[in-house]
């Protein structure tokens, strides 16, 4: 009887799940990005009161604009990790990870008041990456999934600091990386197969 139970499990990862999950992820990304844009005004206030020296406000404000992309891309790759490693991550946990990525901006603002921007950036991104990948490790109990999420986050944050420092060339690099991102997404949808109504990553 246990075997039948195993065989006729209700499919969880269906196309419908993928659609709903994508909508949910985009929703929390928009909400958190709005909160982060509130931080932008806060940073401006700190600069005016003389607490944020030099042109660090420009850098902080620019890295805040990428908040939406970071949360959306990280959550979507978590969805892929979920499908690939077959470990459920619930809505609350997605929300918590989004909050950690949003808190990154506040930490960055606070740290860059005390030290130069790039040191603050490295410290804060290391903190955030460590937190999120430990959380993923705890959720999936799988070292591969944790390493994968570390790599994804490190690439995202590395790209953002390049974009922040590039100035006028940022648009070119940004749109090229969007192109690569679309290509990667296309690659994963090709690998995503539906077997017995269940999504499988092959």
């Amino acid at each position: 009887m246990e075997e039948t139970n195993e065989l006729y499990r209700e499919p969880k990862y269906t196309m419908r799940w993928l659609g709903l999950q994508t909508l949910y992820v985009l929703g929390i990304s928009i909400v958190l990005a709005l909160i982060a844009s509130g931080l932008d005004g806060f940073a401006l206030g700190r600069q005016e009161s003389g607490l944020l020296p030099g042109n660090r406000y420009e850098y902080v404000s620019q890295s805040i604009t990428y908040c939406f992309a970071v949360i959306a891309i990280t959550s979507m790759s978590l969805m892929l990790i979920e499908v690939a490693f077959r470990k459920g991550i619930n809505y609350l946990q997605y929300g918590l990870i989004g909050c950690a990525l949003c808190l990154f901006n506040l930490l960055l603002l606070a740290m860059s008041e005390k030290m130069s921007f790039w040191i603050a950036y490295i410290v804060v991104s290391a903190m955030t990456i460590a937190l999120v990948s430990c959380f993923v490790m705890g959720l999936t109990k799988n070292i591969k999934a944790a390493i994968l999420s570390t790599i994804i986050l490190a690439v995202e944050y590395g790209l953002i600091i390049v974009l922040v420092y590039m100035g006028s060339m940022a648009l070119l690099i940004g749109s090229l990386s969007l192109f690569v991102l679309i290509a990667v997404a296309m690659y994963f949808t090709l690998k995503l197969k539906v077997e017995n109504e269940e999504l499988v990553l092959k």
């Binding site: 139970n5 196309m15 659609g19 648009l171 192109f179 296309m186 017995n196 109504e197």
Partner: protein, 402 residues
């Protein structure tokens, strides 16, 4: 024992496919197009803000090179401070304009250098009324002058003196003939506009050179003008009745030049066709789906639409570095290759992938043609839409209703 909630009907045999409801799918696709248009809007806003900042930088580059050039003169005066002045009898001014663009990282501004040849005649008797020695004055911002030849009066060379806003030279009237001929030559740097005052009783002003989009302006329109490629030429003639004195604003004729570059306008114009490109691509993929009876999930449509939108982002970023034609070519080639490869892999058919790719490249080609021919764009576009509708009708004939 089986728990209640796990009693599920066994999976359906694999040959069975749930029928796809195309009406619902087309509705969802329309909705998706509207969502994707927000992406286009975002890129349009980005292009607009970059255009604004580019204009600001262009103005600052231009101010270092030189502002608008206003040439006023030459006139004769008793001394520099006197308000009374005598105009030349004949005045002839030829300006040869060479435009070039200055770059500062991704920013660009159009400036020019004008070679001005000026000649004319004064009546000696009217100058005598001012005194034995008169001062010839030529109004132009001297900071912008890069090369200056001395004033020539009846084969005699007199050096110009420079003040901030004019050049002047002292002329002794003894031993000069009845009609005093004068001529001079100088090179001046500037931007935006070149205006020359018709100062003589009979004046001829000629401006010619190369510029992308000159517009004639000022007191009167040119009596002769021609435009061949980017080479333009314009001629003004005027004669002043006795006793009429132009005030400072009147009498200037010349051309305005564009300072900024119109590359952002090209990107924004090409964005007008984004909706139709997305719709037509979706329809051709849908036809393939219906004919092959192989369902393609909406997720894949979304990715194709996103790739079509990133085309504009790529175009915008390339156009700041290289000319528009090349950037259009590179961006469209990247997009077409990506979508062709994707369709090839989804449908597992090289033929279908390549045919989608050729439809896309045709669309991009036609869009480029429409961007280059602005006057016939509407006619060409509507004829193209007619033919694409005909092609769709032909393709729908092949769908058998079952």
């Amino acid at each position: 024992m089986i728990p209640v909630n796990t009693i599920i009907p066994p999976p359906l045999p694999s040959e069975y496919r749930k029928p796809v409801s195309y009406g619902k799918k087309i509705f969802m696709m329309g909705l998706m197009c509207c969502v994707l248009m927000f992406g286009v809007l975002a890129i349009w806003l980005m292009s607009y803000s970059r255009e604004t900042s580019n204009k600001e930088v262009a103005v600052s580059i231009v101010n270092q090179w030189g502002k608008s050039v206003y040439i006023q003169g030459a006139t004769a005066k008793e001394n520099l401070d006197s308000a009374e002045w005598v105009r030349p009898q004949k005045f002839d001014c030829k300006a040869e304009v060479e435009t070039k663009s200055l770059h500062r990282s991704i920013y660009e501004a159009e400036v020019f250098t004008a070679n001005v040849n000026m000649s004319g005649t004064f009546d000696r008797d009217s100058l005598r009324a001012l005194g034995d020695t008169v001062v010839l004055e030529l109004g132009v911002i001297t900071k912008q002058i890069v090369k200056l030849n001395p004033l020539k009066i009846c084969e005699q060379e007199i050096l110009w003196h420079k003040s901030d806003y004019y050049l002047f030279a002292k002329v002794k009237l003894d031993e000069l003939p009845e009609t005093i001929e004068f001529s001079t030559y100088f090179e001046v740097r500037g931007s935006e506009a070149l205006f020359i005052k018709q100062i003589g009783e009979n004046s001829t002003v000629t401006i010619n050179g190369e510029a992308s989009n000159p517009s004639y302006n000022g007191y009167s329109l040119p009596i002769e003008r021609s435009l061949r490629g980017s080479r333009f030429s314009a001629k003004w003639e005027d004669s002043v009745p006795d006793g009429v004195i132009y005030t400072d604003e009147l009498g200037f004729v010349g051309t305005n030049f564009l300072v900024g570059v119109d590359r952002y306008q090209m990107v924004e114009r090409s964005m007008k066709y984004s909706f139709i490109i997305i719709i037509l691509t979706f329809i051709s993929v849908l036809f393939v789906e219906i004919m092959r009876k192989q369902p393609i999930p909406l997720l894949n449509y979304f990715l194709i639409g996103a790739a079509l939108i990133i085309f504009y982002s790529l175009l915008l970023s390339f156009v700041e570095l290289i000319p528009f034609g090349f950037s259009y070519l590179i961006a469209s080639a990247m997009t077409v290759v990506l979508i062709t490869g994707y369709m090839w892999k989804i449908l597992q058919s090289r033929k279908l992938g390549l045919s989608i790719g050729s439809v896309l490249s045709l669309m991009y080609l036609f869009c480029y043609i429409m961007l280059s021919i602005s006057t016939y764009a509407l006619l060409f576009g509507s004829v193209l839409l007619f033919f694409s509708l005909a092609a769709m009708m032909y393709a729908s004939l092949k769908i058998k209703n079952s």
